[in-house]
Amino acid sequence: MSKFVYVTYIRTTPQKLWDALTKPEFIKQYWFDMTQESEWKKGASWAMKFSDGRVADAGEVLEIDPPRHLALKWRNEFRPELKDEGYSRCTYDLERDGDIMKLTVTHTIEKEGAKFIEAVSGGWPRILASLKSLLEAGASLPRSHQAPQT
């Protein structure tokens, strides 16, 4: 199994953080200009799209408990070598820690040494840094608008 766990602390409210993770117009501001589409209900389909509308990644909502927990079934759709590795599982856990929010992102896939995990692990720290900046200072980071060149 390949797995990573990322944690960031953000000075915001549970609802604002949840909205930032699930509302397309919010996501676009800190996620390499990409959006995510879903009805955000258990069993609903989920897709991440490039700004030109092409599907980058897709899957479904496995578990949802706003504004605390979200689990997505997630597969890359545009790089055959990553798509071949099958579905991964990505979870968000939001916890209050004093007056700040602790966001834990866990991304796992069955395969050992998966290329998929390597690929997304380059993006997550930048996405989370930009999300933090957007929620705390009202502006995302410029570099989070270009996808990592890997």
Partner: protein, 106 residues
């Protein structure tokens, strides 16, 4: 989660070695990490606590044990603070050059 805590945590060879071990293989337990470190279990535990307080590692409970994951988010925040958006490419080219030159030497 201050940047002071991150720099203090990084200012120690043993703690950087622990991060290197997790970089090599993520998700190790205390026992696994102790096997590779030349220090007492108590010392390793203390270093891991400092790293976790600085948010440089994240832990996940698994049965009676805890798995430790390298959390590069604070290091990325440091990089974002001082590395401008146009410099990244040049810095990468320099570090690639350094790596290839040093490899030739050995």
């Amino acid at each position: 989660m201050s940047m002071d805590a991150v720099f203090k945590a990084l200012a120690d060879t043993s703690r950087r070695e622990l991060l290197d071990r997790l970089h090599a293989r993520n998700g190790q337990t205390l026992n696994e990490l102790c096997e590779q470190m030349d220090m007492t279990r108590q010392a390793v535990t203390k270093h891991l606590d400092i790293l976790e307080d600085a948010n440089l590692i994240a832990t996940v409970k698994k049965g009676r044990e805890k798995e430790h994951y390298l959390n590069p988010v604070p290091i990325n925040e440091i990089a974002e603070r001082w590395i401008g958006k146009y410099e990244r490419g040049r810095l990468k080219a320099l570090s690639d050059l350094k790596r290839s030159l040093e490899r030739e030497d050995t």
